[in-house]
C-alpha cells in the first residue's frame, strides 16, 4: 500500500447556523485519483477552501506530506505542494494565457525588485525558465495556440484547461480540481479525462470534485461521499455506487 499524502482529521466548518463540514476525516494516498462527490451544498467546495487555506476551519487539522497545514495561509499551502482550480473559474482575465501560467511559477521562483530592474544573469535565466515551463504546460493541456490571447477571451473549455495548467505550474504534489468537467460536452469531458489520467501518470496525486458520475466512477481509485457536510461513505467506486446511504443521498438511486 502506498503512503499517505493528505490526512484530514475531523474537519468542522460552520457558516452561522449552516454546517458546511462536520467531523470530516479522510485520507488520500500518494499517486491516487481521489473523488469527492455529493449533492449540491454538501460541503465539497468548502472542504477545498479549508484545505487550501482560504477558509479557517472551526475544528480539526490537516496533515499534508507529514506537515501540519497552517490555517488561513493559502500561499504557504501552495508552497507545500497543493494546487487547485475553482468551481467558478478564477483566471486572471486581463492577462494572456501564457502570463496566467507564468504567475503559477511565482511560488517556485525568486526574482525580486532588484533582479527585475537590473536583469542580472540569474534573473534572466529564471525568467527564461519560467517562460519555457509555461510554454510546456500550455502544450501539455493542449492550448498552446492560445498562448497570447487574454484569458477572458478563451472558450469555456480552454479556460478550464488553462486553470489546470496554472495549477500545475506551481509543481504540486496534490492537484485539487473543483468540478473541472462542469459545462463541458462529451468530447471535451473525454479529453479532460485523458488529461487527468496523464497528470496522475506524471506522479501527481489528484483530488477531484465532480458531478459527472460516470467520469468519477471511471477515473477515481477511491471516492468519498459528502452529504450535509458529513462523510457518509468512502470506498472504491463500485462499492460506493451500491451503498444504500449514498443512493439515498442522491434521492433514490440516480447515481449509477
Amino acid at each position: 500500500m502506498s503512503s499517505t499524502l493528505l490526512e484530514a482529521r475531523a474537519i468542522d466548518k460552520h457558516f452561522g447556523g449552516v454546517t458546511a463540514l462536520r467531523d470530516v476525516s479522510l485520507t488520500i494516498r500518494q499517486g491516487e485519483i481521489y473523488g469527492l462527490i455529493g449533492p449540491n451544498g454538501a460541503g465539497k467546495t468548502s472542504f477545498f477552501n479549508v484545505l487550501t487555506g482560504l477558509y479557517h476551519p472551526d475544528g480539526g487539522e490537516l496533515i499534508f506530506a507529514g506537515e501540519k497545514l497552517q490555517a488561513s495561509a493559502p500561499h504557504k499551502v501552495a508552497r507545500l505542494g497543493i494546487a487547485r482550480t475553482f468551481q467558478n473559474i478564477r483566471l486572471f482575465g486581463n492577462m494572456t494565457a501564457m502570463e496566467n501560467v507564468m504567475v503559477g511559477r511565482h511560488v517556485r521562483t525568486h526574482a525580486g525588485v532588484f533582479g527585475a530592474v537590473l536583469h542580472d544573469r540569474r534573473t534572466t535565466r529564471e525568467e527564461a525558465a519560467i517562460r519555457r515551463r509555461a510554454e510546456e504546460l500550455l502544450n501539455y493541456v493542449n492550448i498552446a495556440d492560445r498562448a497570447d490571447d487574454l484569458a477572458r477571451h478563451l472558450s469555456y473549455g480552454d479556460q478550464r484547461r488553462l486553470e489546470i495548467a496554472r495549477a500545475l505550474a506551481t509543481d504540486p504534489k496534490l492537484l485539487a480540481l473543483d468540478e473541472p468537467a462542469a459545462g463541458m460536452n462529451g468530447t471535451e469531458t473525454a479529453s479532460l479525462r485523458e488529461l487527468i489520467e496523464g497528470i496522475r501518470k506524471d506522479g501527481i496525486t489528484v483530488l477531484l470534485i465532480e458531478h459527472d458520475v460516470k467520469l468519477v466512477m471511471g477515473l477515481c481509485d477511491r471516492v468519498a461521499v459528502l452529504d450535509y457536510g458529513e462523510k457518509i461513505c468512502e470506498d472504491v467506486p463500485s462499492l460506493v455506487q451500491k451503498d444504500p446511504k449514498v443512493i439515498e443521498a442522491y434521492l433514490g438511486g440516480s447515481i449509477a
Binding site: 493559502p74 500561499h75 486572471f92 486581463n94 511565482h106 525568486h110 526574482a111 472558450s155
Partner: protein
C-alpha cells in the same frame, strides 16, 4: 499567420522601434528649445511640471494600475520627498546636503511611508481602501501644517522657502550653465534632469511590469483569491507595490522642492491626489504609454484652458464672461466625463496595445467563436 510572415513583421517591428526611438529621442532633446523660443518660459516651466507629473502618475500606476489598489492619498509621498529636500537643503535647519544624497533618501523615506500606509490597509479593497488612503493623505498634509510647534520642524502653513536649487557636479541648475562656449538656460537644464529621471522611472516601471513581481501585482488586481492560491504572498507583494509607488513620488517631490525653491502644505492637498489619479485612469490604467499620455495631457490641457480661454472669449464676445480659472476646472471636469463615457478603459488602455502589437484588433469575437 504563417511563421515566415510573423518573422517578417518582427523584423519590420524592430526597425520601426529603432526609428521611433531615434525620432522621439531627437524630439525630446530639442523640445525645450522649441517651446522656450516659441511659447516662452512659462510653458517651459509647465513642461517641467509635466515631467514631474509623469513620474507621479507612473508611481501611482504601480499601486492603482498594476496592483489594483485604489489610493486617494498618493500626493502624501510627493510631500514627503519635497519636505525632506526642503529640510535637508535650506536655511531652515542650515543644512545643505547634496542632491545625490537627498533624492535617494527621499525615495527611501517615501517608500517607508508607503509601507506604513499599506500595512493597515492590506485587508481593505475598493471604497474602504479609498477612504483610508484619503485620510492618510490628509493626515500627512495636516501634520506638515502643524509641525511648527512646540518644535518648529516644517514651519507650518508658511512653508519653507529659500530651498537650495539642485546642484550637479559643481554646477547649479538655478543659473544658466556655460559649457564649452555653449550656454544652457536654467529651465532647460532642469528639463534635461527631469527628463533623465522620468526616463529612468519609465525604464524601471517597464522592467517591473515584465517581471515576476509585476505579474504578481497584476494577478492580485485580477483575482486576489486565485493569486493567493497560486502561492503569491499577497501581503508582501501589496506592500511592495505601495513602497515602490511611493518611492517614485518621493523622487518627484525632491525634484519639485529643488526646482520650485519653496514648499508649503497647500501644494499637497486632496485635489492633487485626485489629479494624479485622473492621469492614471484617463490615460489607461496599467498601461505605461497611456499613463504617460495622461500625465502630459492633464498637465498641459488645464494650462491651455487657463491661458487660452481669456483671449478666445475676448475674440468671440468682446469681453471676458467667465473667469478663466473657473472655466478651466469646468472644462477639465467635462473632459473627464466625456472620456470616461466613451473610453471607459482610458485613452490608451493596455489590452488594445496588446492586440495592436499582434495586429488583430478586430477578430477577437471571431476567434472566441471558433
Amino acid at each position: 499567420m504563417t511563421p515566415s510572415s510573423t518573422l517578417e513583421t518582427l523584423r519590420t517591428d524592430k526597425r520601426i522601434v529603432i526609428a521611433a526611438t531615434v525620432i522621439i529621442g531627437i524630439a525630446l532633446a530639442v523640445l525645450p528649445f522649441i517651446i522656450g523660443s516659441g511659447l516662452g518660459n512659462s510653458w517651459l516651466r509647465i513642461l517641467n511640471f509635466a515631467l514631474l507629473y509623469i513620474m507621479l502618475a507612473l508611481g501611482l500606476n504601480i499601486v492603482v494600475g498594476f496592483a489594483g489598489l485604489l489610493d486617494l492619498g498618493y500626493i502624501a509621498f510627493y510631500a514627503v520627498g519635497a519636505y525632506l529636500y526642503a529640510l535637508l537643503a535650506s536655511p531652515h535647519f542650515g543644512l545643505h546636503l547634496p542632491v545625490w544624497v537627498i533624492i535617494p533618501a527621499g525615495a527611501a523615506l517615501a517608500g517607508i511611508f508607503g509601507a506604513l500606509l499599506g500595512a493597515p490597509t492590506l485587508r481593505l479593497r475598493g471604497d474602504y481602501l479609498a477612504i483610508v488612503t484619503l485620510g492618510f493623505g490628509e493626515i500627512v498634509r495636516i501634520f506638515l501644517n502643524n509641525l511648527n510647534a512646540p518644535v518648529n520642524i516644517t514651519n507650518g502653513p508658511q512653508g519653507i522657502s529659500g530651498i537650495d536649487p539642485i546642484h550637479l557636479g559643481g554646477f547649479t541648475l538655478a543659473k544658466p550653465i556655460s559649457l564649452l562656449g555653449f550656454t544652457l538656460p536654467s529651465l532647460h537644464a532642469y528639463y534635461y534632469l527631469f527628463l533623465a529621471l522620468a526616463l529612468f522611472i519609465v525604464f524601471v516601471t517597464i522592467r517591473l511590469e515584465n517581471s515576476r513581481i509585476g505579474r504578481a501585482w497584476v494577478a492580485i488586481r485580477e483575482d486576489e483569491i486565485a493569486a493567493k492560491s497560486c502561492g503569491i504572498n499577497t501581503r508582501n507583494i501589496k506592500l511592495l507595490a505601495f513602497t515602490m509607488g511611493a518611492s517614485f513620488g518621493g523622487v518627484a517631490g525632491g525634484l519639485f522642492a529643488g526646482f520650485q525653491g519653496f514648499v508649503s502644505p497647500e501644494s499637497f492637498n486632496l485635489m492633487e491626489s485626485v489629479m494624479v489619479l485622473c492621469m492614471v485612469v484617463l490615460g489607461g490604467m496599467g498601461n505605461i504609454p497611456g499613463v504617460i499620455l495622461g500625465g502630459i495631457l492633464l498637465t498641459i490641457l488645464p494650462e491651455i484652458f487657463r491661458h487660452g480661454s481669456g483671449p478666445v472669449q475676448l475674440a468671440i464676445f468682446g469681453k471676458i464672461l467667465l473667469d478663466p480659472e473657473a472655466l478651466r476646472m469646468l472644462l477639465f471636469g467635462l473632459a473627464l466625463i466625456v472620456v470616461m463615457l466613451y473610453r471607459p478603459a482610458g485613452l490608451w488602455p493596455s489590452t488594445t496595445r496588446r492586440r495592436e502589437f499582434r495586429g488583430d484588433s478586430t477578430n477577437d469575437e471571431l476567434k472566441a467563436g471558433e
